[in-house]
Amino acid sequence: MKYELQPAMPPPSNLIGVVGWLRKNLFNGPFNSVATIVVGFFLISFMVPVIQWIFIDSDWVGDSRDACNSGGACWVFIISRLDQFLYGFYPEAELWRLQLAFILLIGSIVWLVMPQTPKKGLVAVWLLVIYPVVAFFLLYGNSFGLIQVETHLWGGLSLTLVLAVVGIVASLPLGIVLALGRQSEMPIVRSVCVIFIEIWRGVPLITVLFMASVMLPLFFPEGMSFDKLLRALIGITLFQSAYMAEVIRGGLQAIPKGQYEAADALGLGYWQKMILIIMPQALKLMIPGIVNTFIALFKDTSLVLIIGLFDLLAIGQAANQDPKWIGYSTESYLFVALMFWVFCFSMSRYSQQLERKLHTGHGNRA
C-alpha cells in the first residue's frame, strides 16, 4: 500500500485549451449553445460586409469622387475635408494658433491624468484659470499682434472642444456656489439654489439654446449685443452648472458627518471648514462625476448646430450637402461618430478607473 499522493492527472482534454474555453464560455448548456449560434450567425453576416465596406473595398487616395470606384467606403471624401472637420473655417495662415492651443490643452490634461507627474495642483490651476485666458487670446486674437478671427469662422472639432471646455470650466465655480447654497441652512438661499438647479435640470438643452439665441438679446439694454457663440456659451454654462451642482452635492454628502463636526469643534468658520477640510476631500470624490458630466456635455455640444454654429457634426452635415460629394453621408457620419466616440470612450474609461481607485479611500459612504 502506498500512502503518497498521486501526481494530479491533467484535466480532461475537453475542459482545457480552446475546446475547454469554448465549452465553458459559449456552449455550456442547450440554451447558451443556441444563443451563441444565433448571435454568432447574426454577427458574422452583419460584420463581414461592414468590415469589407469600411476597410477592404474602400478608397483612401485621390482628390475627387472619381477616385471612389471600388464600391466600398469613400474615405477620400473625409481626407479631402479633414482640415474643415478639425478647424472649421479658421483661416489657414492662422491655424498654428489653434494647434498650439490644442497641444497646450492636451499636454496639461495628460499631465493631470498621468499618475506619476508632480505639481498636479499647479497644473490644475493653470488649466482652469490661466489656460482659458491664454486660449481665448490665441483663438480670438485682436491683441498681442494677432489678427482677429471672428467666432463665426470657428468650427469643427476645435469649436466642439471650445464649447465643452468653456462649458465645464465656467460651470465649475457656479456649480460649487449652487451646491453649497443648496446645503445652506438659510431658507432663502437654499430655495433660490434649489429653484435654479431644478429649473435648468428640468428643461431640454435645446430650449435653453433657443432661449439664448432668441431671447437673451431682449434681456439686455438696447445696444448691448452678444456674439452668437458667447450666447450659446452662456446658455450651456447655466445649464451645465445645475448638473455640476448636483455632482458636487453628491461629493459633499459623501464626506462623513464627523468631518463637518470635527471642523466645527475646532472652531473653524464656514469658509475655512469648506476650503480646508471638506472641499479637498470631496473634490477627489467628485472627479469621476465631473468627468461623466463632461462626457454628457461633450456629446450635447452637437446641439449647437440647431442654432447655426458649425461644430463637428454641423461641419459633417455641411460636407454632406456639397454637390461634388453627394451620396457619401454615411462616411461622414461614421467619421464624426468615431471622433466623438474616441473622446467619450477614453474619458469614460478614465473615470471608471478613477472610481475604482477612489473606492478604496472612502469606504464609509453610508
Binding site: 432668441v214 438696447e222 452678444f226 452668437k228 447655426g308 454637390p323 451620396g327
Partner: protein, 337 residues
C-alpha cells in the same frame, strides 16, 4: 475662470458695438459694416471655397460699405438662419439684414424693423421631378411638399392649397438647404420656395436637369434689405445705396466706365451721381463721392444681377420683373437730385 468669462464677454460684446443711437457712427468707428446673410443660398449669399462671400444680397452690403467707408471689402458677414434673423438685427448684432427677406406688413410694422427697398422681386413656385410629367400645381393633390419653416413660403403654400381645395402633407425643415436635399432624395414630391432660391438650390442637386419648376407663381415675394426701426440716417443710407446702383444702371454707368464718365460726362444726372454736383452725401453724413465708390467697387445693379443670378451665373435667370422700369421691369429708383 470667471475672469476669463468676463474678459471674453467684454471683448465680444464690445466687438458687436454699442450705441444704437447712431448706426452710422458705430460702423465708422468699427471700420466695418456687419451684414446678416443666409448660411448659403447660391446667387444671393454664399461663401466660396476660400470663404469669400458672393451674391446679390452680399453686393448690396458691399455697396453700403463702399458708400460709408469708401471700401467695399470692409464688410463682416454674419450667417443667420430664418429663425434668428430679426432678433439679430434688432439687437444690433448686424447693421443691415440682407438675407432674401420678404417684405410684409407684419414684419414691417410689428417687429421693429424697416424695409429699405426691394433688390429682388420674386415669387413662390414649386419644383418637381420632370419624370412625373406634371403640368400644374393643381395636379399636386395628395403630394408631400418640402418647405422651410418659419417663412412666408410655408404660409403661402397653406393658403394656396386651402383656397384650391388641394390636400397635401408639409414636411418642414429648418433651412432651405435641408428642404431641397430632402426633395432631392425623394422624401417629398415637390419643393416650394422663392423661385430665385429654387434656381440656386437646383444647381446643387444630383441631377439639376431632372428637376423643373411648375408654371404657377403663387405669391409676391419682394425681397430686400432690412434695417432697425428708429435710425433714419442709416435707413436712408441703405435705401440710397440700393437706389444708386439702380440709377447707375439706368444712366449706363458701370464699374468699367465710371472713371471715364466722371471725367468726361456732361450729363447733369451722371454728374450728380458721381458726386460732382447735386445733393452729394449731404444729409446722410457720407463722402461726396459715395455713389461713385459704389459703382466703382461693386458695380451697378445690372452688373451685380448678371454676375450673381443672371446669365453670367450658374442660375441663369432672366431679368424678368427685375429689369429696370424703362425695360419692362419693376426696378425703379427715385431720381438723385
Amino acid at each position: 475662470m470667471k475672469k476669463t468669462l468676463i474678459s471674453a464677454a467684454t471683448l465680444m460684446v464690445a466687438m458687436t458695438g454699442t450705441a444704437m443711437a447712431g448706426t452710422l457712427e458705430t460702423v465708422k468707428e468699427r471700420g466695418a459694416v456687419q451684414c446678416g446673410v443666409t448660411s448659403g443660398v447660391p446667387g444671393f449669399s454664399v461663401p466660396d471655397d476660400k470663404g469669400n462671400w458672393k451674391g446679390l444680397d452680399v453686393d448690396l452690403c458691399r455697396a453700403v460699405a463702399a458708400a460709408v467707408l469708401g471700401d467695399a471689402s470692409k464688410v463682416k458677414f454674419v450667417p443667420l438662419n430664418a429663425k434668428e434673423r430679426f432678433t439679430a438685427l434688432v439687437s444690433g448684432e448686424v447693421d443691415v439684414l440682407s438675407r432674401v427677406t420678404t417684405w410684409t406688413q407684419t414684419r414691417d410694422t410689428q417687429l421693429g424693423i424697416n424695409f429699405a427697398g426691394v433688390n429682388y422681386y420674386d415669387g413662390q413656385g414649386f419644383l418637381v421631378k420632370n419624370e412625373l410629367g406634371l403640368k400644374s400645381v393643381k395636379e399636386l393633390d395628395g403630394a408631400t411638399v418640402c418647405v422651410q419653416s418659419g417663412t412666408t413660403t410655408e404660409l403661402n403654400m397653406a393658403d394656396y392649397f386651402r383656397a384650391e381645395g388641394i390636400s397635401y402633407t408639409p414636411v418642414v425643415f429648418d433651412t432651405n438647404d435641408q428642404a431641397a436635399q430632402a426633395f432631392d432624395s425623394g422624401r417629398c414630391d415637390s419643393f416650394t420656395t422663392d423661385l430665385s432660391q429654387a434656381a440656386g438650390l437646383r444647381t446643387r442637386m444630383q441631377d439639376p436637369s431632372a428637376v423643373g419648376a411648375l408654371p404657377e407663381v403663387i405669391s409676391k415675394e419682394p425681397l430686400g434689405p432690412v434695417v432697425r426701426q428708429g435710425d433714419d440716417t442709416w435707413f436712408n443710407i441703405v435705401k440710397w445705396s440700393h437706389n444708386a446702383m439702380l440709377n447707375a444702371e439706368e444712366l449706363g454707368i458701370t464699374s468699367a466706365n465710371v472713371d471715364k464718365m466722371k471725367a468726361e460726362s456732361t450729363n447733369p444726372n451722371v454728374k450728380r451721381l458721381v458726386g460732382l454736383d447735386g445733393p452729394k452725401g449731404k444729409g446722410m453724413d457720407l463722402a461726396d463721392d459715395w455713389a461713385y465708390q459704389i459703382v466703382k467697387q461693386v458695380g451697378n445693379y445690372g452688373e451685380a444681377y448678371e454676375r450673381n443670378v443672371g446669365k453670367g451665373s450658374p442660375l441663369g435667370l432672366d431679368r424678368g420683373l427685375n429689369a429696370l422700369w424703362n425695360q419692362g421691369g419693376l426696378q425703379y429708383a427715385p431720381p438723385m437730385r
